[in-house]
C-alpha cells in the first residue's frame, strides 16, 4: 500500500495478480492473518489465506466470476488465522485490463453470527417441515390401512417413499414364534437377519444398528414388530431421520394393535355368520332347495345377511331371507337373534302377516335388529300354495316351470320396527305348480354401485330366464355369478331357491286287482294336473297298468292279502325338461324257475309305451318307468 493511511484502514485491502497471487496487502489484513508481509507478497494466492471451504468456493465460483464479470460483491468467506476462522465479507474488482484485482475485506464477526443464527433457524424450519410432511404422509397411510397386512404394506411403502430408505424389511411378532419376517421392499424378505426380539422389546426409539436403522413397533401392551431400514448410499441422500422414524414406529405399533383387534372381531363375526347359515333343510321329497352365501369382497367386513328354512307346521315349509342393518360382529349377532326369532314365533296357521307383527315387537327389544328387512314365505307342500310378505325387502322372483320369470310385488311393507309400521302388514299369495321355483335373495344380488335396484331387478329376471333348464344348485351358482360379475367392493349376498316338486301319486292295491280301474283313473287325473298331454297320459296309464298287472300276477301270486305299491312323481331331467317317473313294486320273491314268458311280453308292451324301463330284483321286484311329461312339439 502506498500510504500509511490505507495501511491502517479499518478493512483489509489487497491487490492481486490475475491468477490470484497477492501483489500487495495492507497492515490490517496481515494482522488478521498474522503473517509477515514478506511471507505473503508474491508467494501466496488469496485463496491460501481462506478456510478450505472458501478456497474451493474461490476456485469453483469466485475466480470464474472475476474472469467473466470482472468483479464479485459482498461474498461471505472466512480467513484462516492462527486464532481460528475469521468471518469476513469480501468485495473484489478486476482492473480494466484484467491484469490485477483490487480486493476489500471487511470483518464480519457480528454479522456472521447473526447470519448463522438465521441459517440455523431456517434449517430447523426446513427440517421440521420435511419431518412433518413425512410424518403426515406415513400417518395418513397407516390410518387408511385395514388389517395387519395392509398396515405392514403401508409402512413398507412409506419407508422407501417419504421416509427415504433404500430398502426395508418388517418383522411382525407372532405368538410363540417371536419376530417373523413378513415383508420387504428393495431387498429379499429373508435377506436381513432377524433382530433378537428381546433386544427390540427394550428399545424405546429408533437406533442405528449395523449400518441400518432399527425401529421398534410397540403396541399398547406388547411388541408388535420391528422395522429395519437401509439408508440410501447415493452421495446426495439425506441420512435417515431417527426422530421421525421413532414417531412413525409408535404410530405403526398402535396401528397394528388396531388392525389385530379388527381382524379378530371380523373373523369372529365371520365364523358366527357361517355357522348360523349352516342349516340343514327339512327332509321332505316334495321340495328341494339350494342356497348360496357370498361374503362381501372386503372379507373383513361381515354383513348381517341370512337365509333360513324350517317347517312352520305339518307340511308347511317356512323360508326366510333377510338383512340386518350394519356390518361386523354386532350385525352378525343381531342377525342370529332375528333369524332365531323368526323360527321361534312361527307356528302353524299363523301366516306371514302375524309373524311380521310379532317380529316388529321383537325388534323393539333388540335395537340392533331394528330396521332389518325380511322376505318371509310359507309353502304348503301338499298344494303348492304360497303366502308371502316382504318387510322392506326386494320382491321374491317366481320361476314357473312353464313361462317367464316374474317378480312378486304383493305383500309389501316397511322394514321391521320402522317408524310407521302398519297395524296389519299385507301379505301376498301365489300358487306354485309342480316344478315351479321361487327365489328369495338379499339386496346385494341386485343392487350395485353402477346400477339402480330397478335395473338390477330387470337384469335378475333376464338372468333367471337363462337358468330355466339348470338343476337347482347350478341355477343358483349361475345366477349369483351372472349378477355379481365385475362388481367390486360388493355387499354380502344371500340367495335361496326352492323348487316345489308337488305331491307324488301313491297307492297300494290288492293283488287281486279289484281296485285297478279306480287306480288307473286316479293316476290319469294326477297326470293331467301335472300338465301332461292326452297321449302321454294314455300311454303312461297303460304302461303302469301293465306293470301293476304283472306285479300282481307274478310277484304277489294273485293272492288278495298281498299288495302292490305304485308311486308316480315328476322329476327334472339333466336337460331341464321334466319327466314322469312311475314306480311299481311287489313284495313277492322273484323265482328264477318261474316261467317268465308272460312277464317278458308285458315288458315289451311297457317298453313300447315309455322312454325308459328299469327292473330291479331284490326283496321283491321293482319296475321304474320314465316318460317325458309332455310330448315335444315338432
Amino acid at each position: 500500500m502506498s500510504t500509511d493511511k490505507w495501511d491502517d484502514a479499518p478493512c483489509g485491502l489487497l491487490t492481486l495478480a490475475a491468477d490470484g497471487i497477492v501483489l500487495d496487502a495492507n497492515r490490517t489484513i496481515l494482522q488478521w492473518v498474522a503473517r509477515r508481509r514478506e511471507d505473503v507478497l508474491g508467494l501466496l494466492h488469496l485463496p491460501d489465506l481462506l478456510s478450505v471451504g472458501g478456497r474451493i468456493y474461490w476456485e469453483t465460483h469466485l475466480s470464474l466470476l472475476l474472469r467473466v464479470d470482472g468483479r464479485f460483491d459482498e461474498v461471505s468467506l472466512e480467513l484462516d488465522t492462527p486464532y481460528g476462522r475469521l468471518p469476513v465479507v469480501v468485495t473484489a474488482a478486476a482492473s480494466e485490463s484484467g491484469e490485477s484485482v483490487e480486493v476489500a475485506v471487511f470483518s464480519a464477526w457480528e454479522r456472521s453470527r447473526y447470519e448463522r443464527e438465521l441459517q440455523a433457524a431456517r434449517r430447523v424450519a426446513e427440517r421440521s417441515a420435511t419431518q412433518t410432511r413425512a410424518l403426515q404422509h406415513a400417518t395418513a397411510a397407516l390410518s387408511g390401512a385395514v388389517g395387519v397386512e395392509a398396515v405392514a404394506t403401508a409402512l413398507l411403502d412409506a419407508a422407501v417413499g417419504p421416509l427415504g430408505a433404500a430398502a426395508v424389511t418388517i418383522w411382525l411378532a407372532e405368538p410363540g414364534e417371536g419376530l417373523v419376517a413378513s415383508g420387504s421392499r428393495g431387498e429379499p424378505v429373508d435377506g436381513v437377519p432377524v433382530p433378537p426380539g428381546r433386544d427390540v422389546v427394550a428399545l424405546r426409539a429408533a437406533v442405528e444398528h449395523e449400518g441400518r436403522v432399527l425401529v421398534p413397533l410397540h403396541g399398547h401392551v406388547a411388541l408388535q414388530g420391528a422395522l429395519s431400514l437401509a439408508p440410501r448410499d447415493d452421495p446426495a441422500a439425506d441420512p435417515l431421520d431417527l426422530e421421525i422414524l421413532t414417531a412413525v414406529g409408535q404410530q405403526a405399533g398402535l396401528a397394528l394393535d388396531r388392525a389385530q383387534l379388527y381382524e379378530q372381531s371380523a373373523s369372529v363375526a365371520h365364523e358366527l355368520q357361517q355357522s348360523l347359515l349352516d342349516v340343514e333343510p327339512p327332509d321332505d321329497p316334495r321340495f328341494a332347495v339350494a342356497t348360496a352365501y357370498r361374503p362381501g369382497v372386503e372379507m373383513l367386513e361381515v354383513g348381517g345377511d341370512w337365509f333360513d328354512m324350517f317347517l312352520a307346521g305339518e307340511g308347511v315349509l317356512a323360508l326366510s331371507v333377510g338383512d340386518v342393518v350394519g356390518r361386523g360382529l354386532g350385525a352378525a349377532s343381531a342377525m342370529g337373534q332375528l333369524r332365531s326369532a323368526v323360527r321361534a314365533v312361527a307356528e302353524p296357521e299363523l301366516g306371514p302377516t302375524r309373524l311380521l307383527s310379532r317380529l316388529d315387537r321383537f325388534v323393539e327389544q333388540v335395537e340392533a335388529a331394528s330396521m332389518a328387512t325380511l322376505a318371509y314365505a310359507e309353502l304348503e307342500l301338499a298344494t303348492g300354495e304360497v303366502r308371502y310378505a316382504c318387510a322392506g325387502h326386494p320382491p321374491p322372483l317366481l320361476l314357473p316351470a312353464h313361462g317367464e320369470p316374474r317378480l312378486l310385488w304383493d305383500g309389501r311393507s316397511t322394514p321391521l320396527g320402522a317408524f310407521s309400521v302398519p297395524s296389519q302388514r299385507p301379505e301376498g299369495r301365489v300358487r306354485l305348480h309342480e316344478g315351479d321355483r321361487l327365489l328369495l335373495y338379499t339386496d346385494g344380488l341386485v343392487e350395485r354401485r353402477d346400477r339402480g335396484i330397478d335395473d338390477g331387478l330387470t337384469v335378475l329376471r333376464d338372468a333367471a330366464a337363462g337358468c330355466h333348464d339348470l338343476s337347482l344348485d347350478k341355477a343358483v351358482e349361475r345366477l349369483t355369478r351372472t349378477m355379481l360379475e365385475g362388481e367390486l367392493g360388493r355387499d354380502d349376498v344371500c340367495v335361496l331357491l326352492v323348487s316345489w316338486r308337488g305331491t307324488p301319486f301313491e297307492r297300494y292295491l290288492p293283488a287281486d286287482l279289484r281296485t285297478l280301474s279306480s287306480v288307473r283313473r286316479a293316476l290319469g287325473g294326477w297326470l293331467a294336473n301335472r300338465g301332461s298331454d292326452d297321449e302321454t297320459r294314455r300311454d303312461v296309464v297303460l304302461a303302469a297298468s301293465e306293470a301293476m298287472a304283472n306285479a300282481a300276477e307274478h310277484g304277489a301270486g294273485g293272492r288278495p292279502d298281498e299288495q302292490v305299491y305304485v308311486r308316480a312323481g315328476v322329476a327334472r331331467r339333466d336337460d331341464g325338461s321334466r319327466e314322469v317317473v312311475v314306480t311299481v313294486r311287489d313284495r313277492g320273491r322273484w323265482r328264477a324257475a318261474r316261467p317268465s314268458i308272460e312277464r317278458g311280453r308285458g315288458l315289451r308292451i311297457i317298453e313300447a309305451l315309455v322312454d325308459d324301463v328299469l327292473v330291479k330284483d331284490d326283496e321283491g321286484t321293482t319296475i321304474v318307468l320314465r316318460r317325458a311329461l309332455r310330448r315335444e312339439m315338432t
Binding site: 471451504g53 474451493i56 468456493y57 464479470d69 461474498v75
Partner: protein, 258 residues
C-alpha cells in the same frame, strides 16, 4: 441449449462444471466454430435451464446428469460427438460414454476428478469435513447469487453494462439445486467407472489446481485406457477461462492427430 458453429461440421458438445454455466466456454468455443457443430447447454438448475425440471431423485447420482447428455445427443441425432467436459462434467461425460459409446467420438476431460475425498491409497485433495465446510460457505452466500446482487451492481455508475450481464447470467444457480449438485459432485466416487470407458480421451490437467491436483489427473490417465494426458502450464481449476489458448491448442493437437 445453444447450437452454433458449422452446421455440417462434426459435432462437439461442451458441458460446464459445478458452479458455472455454459458461459465458461466463451474463450474456447470460437476456436472450433468454423470446423464443428457446437452444442452448448446448462445443467439443470444452472444458468438458463428450466428449474422445474429438477428432480432430486434423478440427480442424486451423476448418472442422472449423464442421462441428460445422452438425451441431448439422442434428440439432435448427430454423428458421434466430441464431448468436452469441465471438472465434474468430465466424469458425467465418461459415464454417458460407458452407457452409450456409439454417441461419442472422443472425450476431452478438462481437470477431471473421479473422487474429491481422500481414501486409503488415494489422494483426492479433501476430507469429508472440508467438503462440509464448502457446503457451509455456499449456504452463507446463496442469497447473494440471485436477486440480491443485481441492485448493488447497478449502483456502480461507471460500469452500467455489468448490471445487465449479471442479472441475466453467470454462475446464477438456484441455491437449493446448487447445494444438491455440490453434494452429488463432491461426495460421488466414480473411480471404479473409469476402467469401463472405451472411448478415446484427452485428459487436461493444470499444473497447480487445488480442486483436482496433479495426482488425480495422473490417476485418471492411468485408469482410462487409450487416454492422453496433457499438463497445462496453468493455475487454478478453470483453464478454459484462465488459459483458454493452451486448452484450445491441446485440443486441436489431439483432435487432428487421429
Amino acid at each position: 441449449m445453444t447450437l452454433a458453429g458449422r452446421a455440417d461440421g462434426p459435432p462437439m458438445i461442451f458441458a460446464h462444471g459445478f458452479g458455472c454455466d455454459q458461459t465458461m466456454w466463451r474463450h474456447v468455443v470460437p476456436a472450433f466454430a468454423d470446423s464443428h457443430r457446437i452444442v452448448l447447454f446448462d445443467h439443470v438448475g444452472a444458468g438458463g435451464s428450466d428449474l422445474a425440471a429438477f428432480d432430486p431423485d434423478r440427480y442424486r447420482r451423476l448418472q442422472g446428469y449423464a442421462g441428460d447428455v445422452i438425451e441431448i445427443l439422442d434428440t439432435l441425432a448427430l454423428l458421434p460427438a466430441v464431448f468436452v467436459g469441465h471438472s465434474v462434467s468430465a466424469i458425467i461425460g465418461a459415464l454417458a460414454a460407458i452407457e452409450r459409446p456409439e454417441l461419442f467420438d472422443r472425450l476431452v476431460l478438462v481437470v477431471p476428478s473421479p473422487r474429491y475425498i481422500d481414501d486409503v491409497g488415494y489422494r483426492g485433495g479433501f476430507t469429508r469435513a472440508e467438503i462440509d465446510e464448502l457446503l457451509e460457505t455456499m449456504d452463507g452466500n446463496y442469497l447473494g447469487w440471485s436477486a440480491h446482487i443485481a441492485p448493488v451492481i447497478m449502483g456502480v455508475p461507471d460500469r452500467p453494462e455489468l448490471a445487465q450481464e449479471l442479472t441475466s447470467s453467470f454462475c446464477r444457480t438456484d441455491p437449493a439445486i446448487a447445494r444438491h449438485f455440490a453434494r452429488t459432485t463432491f461426495l460421488s466416487d466414480n473411480r471404479g467407472d473409469l476402467d469401463k470407458v472405451r472411448t478415446p480421451s484427452l485428459v487436461l490437467q493444470c499444473r497447480k489446481d487445488v480442486i483436482a491436483p496433479m495426482d488425480v489427473g495422473e490417476f485418471v490417465h492411468a485408469h482410462l485406457s487409450g487416454s492422453e494426458l496433457v499438463v497445462l502450464d496453468a493455475t487454478g481449476h478453470c483453464p478454459n477461462l484462465s488459459a483458454p489458448d493452451q486448452v484450445v491448442a491441446a485440443m486441436r493437437r489431439y483432435l487432428s492427430g487421429r
